[in-house]
Amino acid sequence: MSHERGIPWTLKYRPKTLIEVIDQEEAKSKVIEWLNKWPNVSKKALLLYGPPGCGKTSLVEAIANEYGYELIEMNASDFRRKTDIERIALRASTSHSLFGFNKKMILLDEIDGISAREDEGALEAIQELIEKSNAPIIMTANNPWNQNLRILRDLAEFVQLKKLTKTDMRSMLMRICKAEKIICNEDAINYIIERSEGDLRAAINDLQSVGEGFSEVTLERTKLLLRPRDKEKDPFETLRSIFSANYSWQAKAVINQSQLDYEQLKMWLEENIPLQYTNLEDLERAFEALSKADLYIGRIAKTGDWDLLSYAIDLMTAGIALSAKNSSKDKYRWIKYSFPQRILLASKLKEIRSIRDDIAQILAYHLHVSTSVAKNEIIPLLKTIFTTDPLKAAKIALGLGFTEKMIEYLAGTNKNTILEHYRELKKRVVSHHRSKPSKSIESNNEMYKESVGLNKNSKKEERNLFAFSKKK
């Protein structure tokens, strides 16, 4: 490597040893402790999470360096398909090493950057890797709530790295200034630290921007070159700005600075309009605006023309801001906004709807009607049987091959009684069949499954005699 060649300061001042890793004492000791115990640990993998620039990867590299591990790294720049991950596993398990290390460690960096499309099957492969690996696995991620991580929660120990403190950042920046022989204005350093919000790497980059090649870092240049980062408004600020806007342009401007996209904004407004506007006329006006906005969003889907979005946004922002005509004081009330319930309820609703759909399919098959007739006409009547006559309900459930989930849906509070009957009856049917095999309801239900195309991959589902499972 040529020595004349300049390298960016973030690389130049990257920690090589554990001591050089700033802050994060708690994380450090947790990682070391876990590593020392390995493989006698409750969870065979570790997940380091924290905001960008707090030193996750550096920490792992420093530990590997200090404890003599060969680091086998895989990150978002690598393909991470199933086969790629299996290759890593293979590399980790080979006993020798070219570099004379005797220990290996796997670093799966940027786990939240796994692409759903390009890295299909990666998560399953990682799960398997964790179960089988004979080398410790450390993963990193920014956002612990990332969807990719959901299935890893049971398999990995989550360790948090915190944002760096201002004091620690200051001492690091000062150290660099000294090393680079730059006279440094304290206010300028403070400005950089404020701006970086605990991201050391960003701060070092900023320092290089204003410092390298100049002998002095002045506040003036710092301010000129480094403008305050523009931050997007969080949902709460977004709502507040919309409701309190007096002019349409004010309200309209909000959407450009918000973390919420138009779909999310729609749901946040739906939830919070009634909290902000108490006057019924204002409330109605606001909802009418939202309803019309929503109509335009529907029309975008219908026509495929995104030009219409701007009208939806007008109505969602200006339309709602200007709805408070009767009680204009409402606009400025401080309200504790709440998270949209429907997002929370969405998965529940989806589940319940799919159960209802499944019941409807069974009924449609048996009664030769459409699923919508089954839903609107027959299910309600069936529900009455389930709430009034548990034994009969259990018999019908058995006759139609309902699952327990379906029974729960139809029975409501009656479900335990019906389920008892149901299980009892089922046992008796089975024993009855053993003694006297004959084709009866099963063949009936067999035929049903065939008709909806279930038999092709129904090996697993056969476990339950009358099992029924969803299409797809």
């Binding site: 109605e284 929503d294 029309r299 319940i352 049987i385 049917v429």
Partner: protein
């Protein structure tokens, strides 16, 4: 044997298997029996109100043509469930390819609710019907014959199913009660007939639900109907009319989650509710409400989000309620 442990829905259990078991629609049955005899038939179009036996006749025809194995030679499709004409085309293609029954020179495709298809889809359907006519006959079932395009109508033999007579429906219900050993009162059956609007399937379903309560009396029938149409919708309307918007909305959400209802389901139920005798609102308000509901339903059809639209509807009702009181 397993009769002891399991039970079927009566609408299935007591569906006539063969054309000979069908007691109404004599004219139609006579003509259909001809087809069975000749082992030949054109495409058929069965039109008429719900529950008059159209599907039953189609299935019985198939049974009489093919015997116990009939399901093998019949493809049942419901236009309102199949996603688009392409799906239908593929299914028919697949089906037409399969082996023909021994002595009958064709198989049957039963397409229920054919009038729910768009004109374009029907044009495509017509082409499919022509393409496979050598090996396959279609029975199209429709409530509204006027929604079936001319070119299809003129290629089908049409059958008009007329509403069942009161005595036919009640007679059948009586008979089922005897089979099931259920005590029934005459006025109970009569109420069932009225509520079902002459729809046999609906009547039998109500009968079975009522029987779960014990005897088939007027009181029990109404109880069943009451249970089947949850009071919640009415409560939501009343809360909204009292201006209790947030409460109404919360209740609406609960309802949707518990029952898994879609927005359109709720809108339709609300519509039914405001015209029921049980809700006390001045006539004019009823009319205004009906128009609101029409408007909201229309927006949902246009592609808007049903929950937002329902909430907006509640807001309107709340405002309306205040003006009234």
């Amino acid at each position: 044997m397993s009769e002891k442990f399991i039970e079927l829905l009566w609408a299935e259990k007591y569906r006539p298997r063969s054309l000979k078991d069908i007691v109404n629609q004599e004219e139609i049955v006579k003509r259909l029996l001809k087809f069975v005899e000749e082992k030949n038939m054109p495409h058929l179009l069965f039109a008429g109100p719900p529950g008059t036996g159209k599907t039953t006749a189609a299935l019985a025809l198939a049974y009489d043509l093919y015997g116990n194995e009939w399901r093998r030679y019949v493809l049942e499709l419901n236009a309102s469930d199949e996603r688009g004409i392409t799906v239908i085309r593929n299914k028919v293609k697949e089906f037409a390819r399969s082996k023909l029954p021994g002595d009958t020179p064709f198989k049957i495709v039963i397409l229920d609710e054919a009038d729910n298809m768009t004109a374009d889809a029907q044009q495509a359907l017509r082409r499919i019907m022509e393409m496979y006519v050598e090996t396959t006959r279609f029975i199209l079932i429709a409530n509204y014959p006027s929604k079936i395009i001319d070119p299809i109508q003129s290629r089908c033999a049409s059958f008009r199913f007329t509403p069942l007579k009161k005595e036919d429906v009640i007679g059948r219900l009586h008979w089922i009660c005897r089979q099931e050993n259920i005590k029934c009162l005459d006025d109970g059956l009569e109420v069932i007939y009225e509520i079902s609007g002459g729809d046999m399937r609906k009547a039998i379903n109500i009968l079975q639900s009522t029987a779960a309560l014990g005897e088939v009396s007027v009181g029990n029938v109404y109880k069943v109907i009451g249970l089947a149409h949850p009071r919640e919708i009415r409560e939501i309307l009343n809360l909204a009319l009292l201006g209790k918007f947030i409460e109404a909305r919360d209740k609406l959400r609960d309802l949707m989650v518990v029952y898994g209802l879609s927005g359109v389901d709720v809108v339709k139920q609300m519509h039914r509710e405001i015209f029921s005798a049980d809700i006390k609102i001045p006539e004019e308000i009823r009319v205004i409400l009906a128009e609101y509901i029409g408007e909201i339903h229309f927006r949902i059809i246009e592609g808007a989000d049903d929950e937002i639209q329902l909430t907006a509807l509640l807001a309107r009702i709340a405002l309306l309620g205040r003006k009234v009181s």
